[in-house]
Symmetry: C2
Subunit: 415 residues, 2 copies
């Protein structure tokens, strides 16, 4: 039996046990994990150093090394996040619908755990802790498959989790780490339908596409954000400038930053150059359509590919449009269904835009940077879904649950 099969089987058995644990038992286990992380800090940091050393030897980029890096502050942040998680309501057991039938039959739809959650992710060891603790809070077992670039860190973190779980009422097997980080183990997870109820990939476009293409286990697609702001003809200049600069500059490397700007030609005539100049002054490379390039010499001509591109960097594509409808059609063609905004004082256009743009989050007169589980009040986040089934947008604890009909009878039969 392969490592993936073996750990899958253990996780499934643990998930059945988790159906019987109480909120208090889960929170107690989470507290033990938080405390164990602090206790094991030195070991964890030592193991993390090994990953960083290997990464440097392998020529991994500074940006990725920074994602792998752990220090006192980051481990304390993990600890604190777990205590925040403990304070969140336990969604399990919540009655979502209920019905009393004429024949006395009572039907209740209740929230239950999903079962076994598979996470495939890159670099960031904090995902190990996030995924494990959010899964446990919702009564799920989890199978973690991190990347080889963080393997020592992940092993140390999961060792701490196991030590904490051993003291708790929760089964130690509820958290499984796949130690073999070869491509084969990822492939094996894609078809582990017997033991896995859902697979959540977190990482780059390539990883996500490969999971979507090859997985027979249900997948929740997360992440990619080719986000737009549409500046309508009636947009106030100051407001538009402020929102565009925030959405592009505040943190260009994240998925809810904007990558593309659609500007109504009438607005552009009056304020376009000022906006483009400010962007350029902030080191933003501009890829414009022909109208933009004709009046702003620093802009490079955008290719068809640019409209699809998530730069995740100081770069933006800019296109002029003649109507709100044209903007919506462009977004529905090139967008990734993440976060999209309109800036306008025209109520009808705002309504049309928010109703017709096909995305998880549609904004009127605000920066797209708010799309996130904490900002939307979930107090936790396992990722941002860009698909439409099960969960859409920031996924908090309820996204890690399913439901079950409980039917209470006194001998009712169907006539």
């Amino acid at each position: 039996m392969s490592e993936v099969q073996q750990k899958g089987k253990l996780a499934k058995a643990a998930s059945y046990q988790l159906n019987g644990v109480t909120t208090e038992e889960k929170n107690q286990a989470l507290q033990y994990i938080a405390e164990q992380l602090i206790q094991d800090k030195e070991v964890i940091l030592k193991e993390n150093q090994k990953d960083l050393q290997e990464g440097e030897n392998n020529g991994i980029s500074k940006a990725i090394l920074d994602r792998i890096m752990l220090d006192d502050t980051r481990i304390e942040a993990m600890h604190d996040a777990i205590f925040q998680l403990i304070d969140l309501n336990d969604p399990i057991g919540e009655v979502l619908e209920s019905l009393e039938k004429d024949n006395g039959l009572r039907v209740e739809r209740k929230r239950v755990p999903i079962g076994v959650i598979g996470m495939i992710y890159e670099a960031r060891p904090n995902v190990t802790i996030d995924a494990a603790t959010l899964s446990l809070k919702t009564g799920n077992a989890v199978i973690l498959r991190g990347s080889s670039s963080a393997k020592y860190s992940n092993q140390a973190l999961v060792a701490s989790i196991h030590q904490a779980l051993a003291k708790s009422k929760l089964p130690v097997d509820a958290v499984q780490l796949i130690e073999d980080t070869s491509r084969e183990t990822a492939q094996q997870l894609f078809t582990l339908n017997e033991y896995l109820d859902v697979l959540i990939p977190r990482g780059g476009k390539k990883l996500i596409q490969s999971v979507l293409q090859s997985s027979t286990v249900p997948v929740i697609e997360t992440g990619a954000g080719n986000c737009h702001i549409f500046i309508d003809a009636s947009a106030e200049k100051k407001l538009a400038m402020k929102l565009v600069l925030n959405a592009k500059l505040q943190r260009p490397s994240v998925c809810n930053a904007i990558e593309s700007l659609l500007i109504h030609k009438d607005w552009f005539k009056e304020h376009g150059l000022a906006l483009l100049k400010t962007l350029a002054e902030n080191q933003v490379a501009i890829y414009g359509d022909e109208n933009v390039c004709a009046v702003f010499s620093k802009a490079k001509q955008a290719t068809e590919e640019d409209w699809y591109t998530e730069y995740l960097d100081l770069a933006i594509s800019v296109k002029l449009v003649s109507s709100c409808e044209e903007a919506v059609n462009h977004i529905n063609k090139y967008g990734t269904r993440h976060s999209e905004a309109i800036i306008t004082t025209d109520h009808a256009n705002a309504v049309y835009f928010q109703q017709h743009v096909d995305a998880a989050a549609v904004y009127h007169n605000a920066s797209t940077r708010f799309t996130d589980g904490f900002e939307f009040g979930y107090g936790a986040e396992i990722g941002i879904s860009t698909q439409k089934l099960h969960a859409r947008g920031p996924m908090g604890l309820p996204a890690l649950t399913s439901s079950k009909f409980y039917i209470y009878g006194q001998g009712q039969i169907r006539e």
Copy 2:
């Protein structure tokens, strides 16, 4: 461009238009469809005759011919079902969550259509009408791919739908029928990710397995029901007899009928033979474990395969168990996550069973035959989901919706 590609593209464009229609416009269109079906009844019945004739020539079984068959009563039932659907609440636009942040930002999660729904189904032409009308009520476009055995009927029904839609405010392209019923068009739908948001197969195990294995479009798994009743030691004899007979005999060919009986050995000692005799008197073939076969000569020895089998017929597998826990473990191993029941007067066992059995619907002291969208109060049903993501159990109108975050701002940026 293939037929599937072409119709996919048209459906997607129609789905964008459907984001702007009102409840009244949708209900008006549904009414036109209901009326058109009555108006076109003779044409539809004539086309249905062609399917029946071809089916007979091809040696299709009587049971399946009955599923294909339409008559006055069945068309009137379609008409009436549409008027019931009109009366149901429109779920679209419902505010599911809302939040006002300190900075004045208002975040609302609202129900929206999924987009384009693909239905792959066998025989039954009534699924054509059900799928089309439920999709329209929830603002979705739909691509229908029925089986060749009902192709004339399906074409006639969709012709009526198109005629009705042409009179309405809804786009005619919202309902697409794939006329080429070759295996290739099914395969093409499996990977039509560009235009299709979800694929719902309705039919036999083989169809569903092939969709699950090959589809890169998200799938909602429906249907298979290897359902159990567990008779606990403390079950009342009369109650147990009544529920088992109802769940097995009332309609053996449906997915919520039971296929397997688990009996606590203490109960069996006192009442087992009486129950088995009654089942046998009702022409039910019994496949028993060795304990059952040892005392009831009419029982045949069950094979390992029997515990997995959904007979959909007058047959049942019977196994003795020593505890509630053993029953739960058996169900979680062999069941299909559909409907499972315990008969007991022991409260703790009922709680344990309902909490630990992994199924869409878990019953205490009632027949499993109630698992269905109408019985559970949805007023409509597109299928019964046996998976855990998005929808579980009977799927009413809400199962055909997604959600979207609407964010209303006055210039808020992220600091």
